[in-house]
């Protein structure tokens, strides 16, 4: 059971090769001397240098980061509240509609979400810019946060909350002192997910942004339409590096939190 059969070894190897080779090629060719991306002409970091000179890309990157920070923070607060309501809220009027509105955006094609939000913003006379992108990103990423957080809320032992309430905590105190520390890893990974979803989004941002605010994916998309370029490879490499470091750090933090929690639970079981 604990050894991999040859079939599983082959399928895992091929699967990971398929997932990673395209990105490895992209990274390797970002260090290519030649302007022709498909012909290797020696090692060079000049495309990174040119990227740092490119004002338009830097401006767009700054807009993108601001949008991502604001929208992921808002989405985390709203998404955690939504998850808490779904899992612990009991029955309330329109619960089915509420859970529908949480799950539907997960699979809703972005062109529809983008178009509908744009028409809303035009309808209420809101000028398109950073604010409208933040509102749009918050709306779709809060649903992802809520799914991540509610899966943690479902699995954790409810009697801990009840114990806190029995011992005299108010519901708000019980949430802050018991529930929140336990679901914290899920809340953090929800925030990270919302952050990367916002960094990543092209379609919804294209609909909801105005001429005053262009995000990085919009810039990349218009450049990429003309074909492959080493500058875009360099930019992609930087983005892949940032995400890789972020994901590895996040998974180490979660792992440590989980180990600590298990130790606490075992210690608690022993004292009983």
């Amino acid at each position: 059971m604990n050894r991999l059969s040859w079939f599983n070894t082959v399928s895992l190897t091929l699967g990971f090769a398929f997932l990673y080779i395209p990105m490895i090629i992209l990274i390797v060719f970002s260090f290519n001397e030649s302007k022709l991306v498909t012909v290797w002409a020696g090692f060079s970091t000049k495309w990174y240098g040119e990227l740092l000179q490119n004002e338009a890309f830097l401006d767009a990157a700054w807009v993108t980061i601001r949008v991502a920070v604001f929208s992921s923070t808002l989405a985390t607060i709203l998404g955690t509240a939504a998850a808490y309501v779904l899992v612990r809220g009991g029955r309330f009027f329109g619960r089915t509609l509420f859970s529908g509105m949480i799950y539907a955006p997960l699979v809703m094609p972005e062109v529809i979400t983008g178009l509908s939000l744009l028409l809303l913003f035009i309808g209420i006379g809101l000028d398109r810019g950073i604010l409208t992108i933040v509102l749009a990103h918050t709306t779709f990423s809060m649903c992802f946060v809520s799914v991540v957080v509610s899966s943690r809320l479902i699995t954790f032992d409810r009697s801990l909350e009840e114990a806190a309430l029995d011992l005299g905590c108010s519901p708000a105190q019980a949430f802050r002192l018991v529930t929140l520390p336990i679901i914290a890893p899920a809340v953090i990974s929800g925030w990270l997910l919302a952050f990367t979803l916002s960094l990543d989004d092209l379609v919804i941002a294209s609909f909801t942004s105005g001429p005053s605010a262009t995000t990085l994916p919009i810039k990349i998309f218009s450049a990429v339409r003309l074909g492959v370029s080493p500058e875009i490879n360099a930019l992609s490499t930087i983005m892949i590096a940032v995400v890789t470091v972020g994901v590895i750090t996040a998974s180490l933090v979660t792992k440590r939190a989980m180990v600590r929690q298990q130790q606490d639970e075992m210690a608690a079981a022993r004292t009983e």
Binding site: L4, P22, I25, V85, A136, T155, G227
Partner: protein, 296 residues
Amino acid sequence: MRRAVLIAIPYVWLLALFLVPFFIVLKISLSDIALAIPPYSPTLDLSAGWAGIKEFFSQLDLENYVWLTEDDLYWKAYLSSVKIALISTFFTLLVGYPIAYGMARAPQEWRPTLMMLIILPFWTSFLIRVYAWMGILSNEGYLNQILLWTGIISTPLTILNTSTAVYIGIVYTYLPFMILPIYSALERMDGSLIEAAEDLGCSRFQAFWLVTIPLSKPGIIAGCFLVMIPVIGEFVIPSLLGGSGTLMIGKVLWEEFFSNRDWPVASAVAIVLLLILIIPIVLFQRNQQKQAEAEG
């Protein structure tokens, strides 16, 4: 009281920014294109009172929907989007299932690392992952270079800007969505069930077909929905990897809106797309709820 506020905040947010916008799209799909800002008429004028509202409703009509049925382009685009989504979901399942299965059978201590290796590309920009294939599949691309160099082919294959490239792009980018739910279903499965089936005389393949597949069904269903529904409206992949021959409705909607600036027709396209998707979306939501309740 507190509970009511807690429920109300996310509820009202989603009503205002998710549900209400659909009604606005519906309304604009019934309007006419106009050379104005915003580029449609009528616009609701509340200052005219009751007469203004009546005037507004009398001007709405189904003209745009009639137009959608008259022009071949639209229904061909809907059909080909559904076809592409079905075929690519099937291939994603075919590629994804063995990977999820291998992960679930891997030694316990490897699993977090394997899991992270699956999630990592999923967190990396979608746009970048599609872009990576442009360099591989083009006529002077890496794939053609390797094939020419090894002598398998003598003239470069045209893959970029064809439907094949779109299928490759979809399978590649949506693979984690298929693997993760199947893996979580397989991981929860009790290994002794397979042993029991084999003890009772099943061959390995029979045990897989009769025990493993049925037990991983919720994961397969969730994965297929997670891939198929968004792919029907996909825009980035067909516009970067597909050519003029690949017709997809997400791209048609985008062009209707940004190039032709015909907002009412774009809205009608979106409403019809939503009607096509509503059944799979409801089924998906039911499936998720059932699973959440089974776990809880």
